[in-house]
């Protein structure tokens, strides 16, 4: 279609809006850098990994324990949620009796819509005392992993479902013609065919787990230490920002922005590889 002159002002307005929408990301990066610059300039990025302990007021900026805690809780949740999420999808597609499949799928979708603060509230009042009955104090790496598992499981299940739906019908018919059993069809044909989409979904879920703040903050105990057991209380990078931003000033505040940058880098690498794999892709 041709562009008439009457449309020119409209196009300009639209283009400006689109540029603003796209510029938000740039603005976020710019302001994070601007706020972290004083401390990055003074002590350098390396000290954030090598300093022993997080005592920002004494100019000791070691984020390593919290980085380890973040990775431990994130990887733990992904390890537990992946088999459960895949099983939930396979259940609705192949195993559930007809009357149960749709309600079960709706339930998983509902789970995806529950806000993180509600998971946190439930974890704090139900799960933490439950764990504490076996191994005090209860608020621990394990509690964080379990809560995150419930939170990211729907992401894995829903993206895997989309990936399985995209497997060509004739793969299924071919498998049936070869006389494969249900398990063989799933493990040998369907899952390999949907591998890229499923992996993308898992990476997306991992990004969500690492970036989650409230739920982990509320159940994980928030002690700055490198976790050595599942029952250790831990503090993640996200929780650290939420807990200390309220009173941090000067270099302390700047170092919180450094951890924000770090977090953003971590999550973005995961999200980009997820979209490269085709799972959870939003645009074009």
């Amino acid at each position: 279609m041709s562009r008439s002159r009457t449309d020119q002002p409209l196009i300009s307005v639209l283009a400006i809006s689109a540029v603003i929408a796209a510029a938000i990301l740039l603005l976020i990066l710019l302001f994070l850098l601007r706020e972290s610059w004083p401390v990055l300039n003074k002590v350098g990025i390396l000290r954030f990994f090598t300093d022993d302990g997080w005592y920002p007021l004494e100019a000791r900026f070691g984020l390593a324990p919290m980085l380890w805690a973040t990775l431990a809780v994130g990887i733990g949740a992904v390890l537990v949620a992946t088999p459960l999420g895949l099983a939930a999808t396979l259940f609705t597609r192949f195993y559930a009796p007809r009357w149960l499949a749709l309600p079960f799928q709706r339930m998983v979708a509902l789970l995806a819509g529950i806000p993180s603060v509600v998971f946190g509230l439930w974890g704090l009042t139900v799960l933490v005392p439950f764990i504490a009955a076996f191994e005090p104090p209860g608020a621990s790496l394990l509690a964080g992993i379990l809560i995150l598992t419930i939170m990211i499981l729907p992401t894995i299940a829903l993206t895997a479902d989309a990936a399985l739906a995209a497997v060509p019908e004739h793969y299924l018919r071919g498998s049936a013609a070869l006389g494969f059993s249900r398990a063989t069809t799933i493990l040998g044909v369907l899952l390999p065919a949907a591998k890229a989409g499923i992996t993308g979904g898992i990476l997306l879920a991992a990004a969500r787990a690492l970036g989650e703040t409230m739920a982990v903050l509320m159940v994980a105990g928030n002690v700055v230490q490198t976790p050595t057991s599942l029952f250790d209380p831990i503090r993640t990078l996200t929780a650290n920002i939420a807990l200390e931003m309220a009173y941090a000033t000067g270099d302390h505040r700047a170092s919180l922005f450094v951890s924000g940058l770090m977090l953003m880098g971590l999550v973005l690498v995961l999200a980009m590889s997820a979209s490269r794999l085709g799972g959870g892709r939003l645009h074009g």
């Binding site: 603005l27 079960f104 603060v117 509230l121 249900r182 799933i186 931003m245 999200a271």
Partner: protein
């Protein structure tokens, strides 16, 4: 020899099939169990404190007693600000991406990619950004305006994505028809395309509201904690999600009201997401009929 091998192979396949069935059913039971446990606790602890006066009264004694009247007003104001900022910007971007430039052009790809990345930014990072940009740099302070604008940035990707899908679902014949009638692209948009995509655009709006409403971390350092009734957009206002967080973490004996607030939040989100879902399903059906 061959026969026994075959029989052995069949036995293993049979075993594997049954083990797999067992695992899938166990996993499904665990997922359903966790869901029902959570939902049951929410209903039992939340419903007992629910009443009309809980919805309209002001919080007392740091939220242990009283209701959530001022919290609901603050939440609605924050959401209104967020949507007033996100909808025009998002709609214009979606229209540009679907109607005027190709999604595969360099400009189109750049915008699409930056929105994808924006969708993946952790909410606490939005909180940091909102604090330094809206509250400090623009001087809006801890206010409903700061919080709402921060949430607008967060909700933008999901709104644009859904609006884009809705506009793309309008059949191309309609565009050709409008052009054949000599309508300008602007008039075609206003009178044909946007009305035709209205259900999807509403779904986009609701999904954006849902995303914004579920948010906590981005609000703590932007719209703040103050639980009084706000008198202007420059006042700090406590959102429902922040109220739940504060009651459960910082207020001893606040659990009962935290559960009641959580139940309200969930019910609101279920209604919003439910309407959004049925709207987009309707759109999909119509697309099949017209195609």
């Amino acid at each position: 020899m061959d026969n026994s091998h075959q029989a052995y192979g069949q036995l293993m396949a049979w075993k594997r099939d049954h083990l797999m069935t067992l695992f899938i059913w166990l996993a499904a039971l665990m997922v359903a169990g966790a869901f029902l446990w959570l939902l049951g606790d929410l209903l039992v602890h939340g419903a007992t404190h629910l009443s009309w006066s809980f919805l309209v009264d002001a919080p007392e004694n740091a939220g242990r007693a009283g209701g959530i009247g001022s919290i609901i007003v603050s939440t609605l104001l924050i959401l209104t600000v967020a949507m007033l900022a996100a909808v025009p910007l998002g709609l214009a971007t979606a229209v540009l991406l679907t109607e005027f430039i190709s999604a595969t052009s360099r400009f189109g790809r750049l915008i699409g990619m930056s929105l994808d990345v924006l969708a993946g930014v952790p909410s606490i990072v939005f909180g940091l950004f909102g604090n330094v940009f809206f509250s400090v740099y623009l001087g809006l302070g801890f206010s409903i305006l700061s919080g709402g604008l921060t949430l607008a940035c967060m909700a933008l990707p999901i709104f644009i994505n859904t609006a884009e899908a809705g506009l793309r679902a309008v059949p191309d014949e309609w565009r050709a028809g409008a052009a054949a009638l000599g309508l300008s692209r602007g008039a075609a948009l206003l009178h044909i395309l946007i009305p035709a995509a209205a259900p999807a655009l509403t779904a986009a709006l609701l999904l954006g509201v849902g995303r914004a409403m579920a948010e906590t971390a981005a609000l703590i350092f932007t719209s703040g904690y103050v639980d009084r009734m706000p008198s202007s957009l420059m006042d700090s206002g406590r959102a429902l999600s922040v109220h739940i967080y504060d009651l459960s973490m910082n207020v001893a004996g606040g659990d009962a009201n935290a559960y009641a607030s959580a139940l309200i939040l969930i019910v609101l989100l279920m209604i919003i997401n439910g309407i959004a879902q049925s709207l987009s399903e309707k759109l999909l059906q119509r697309r099949i009929i017209t195609a």
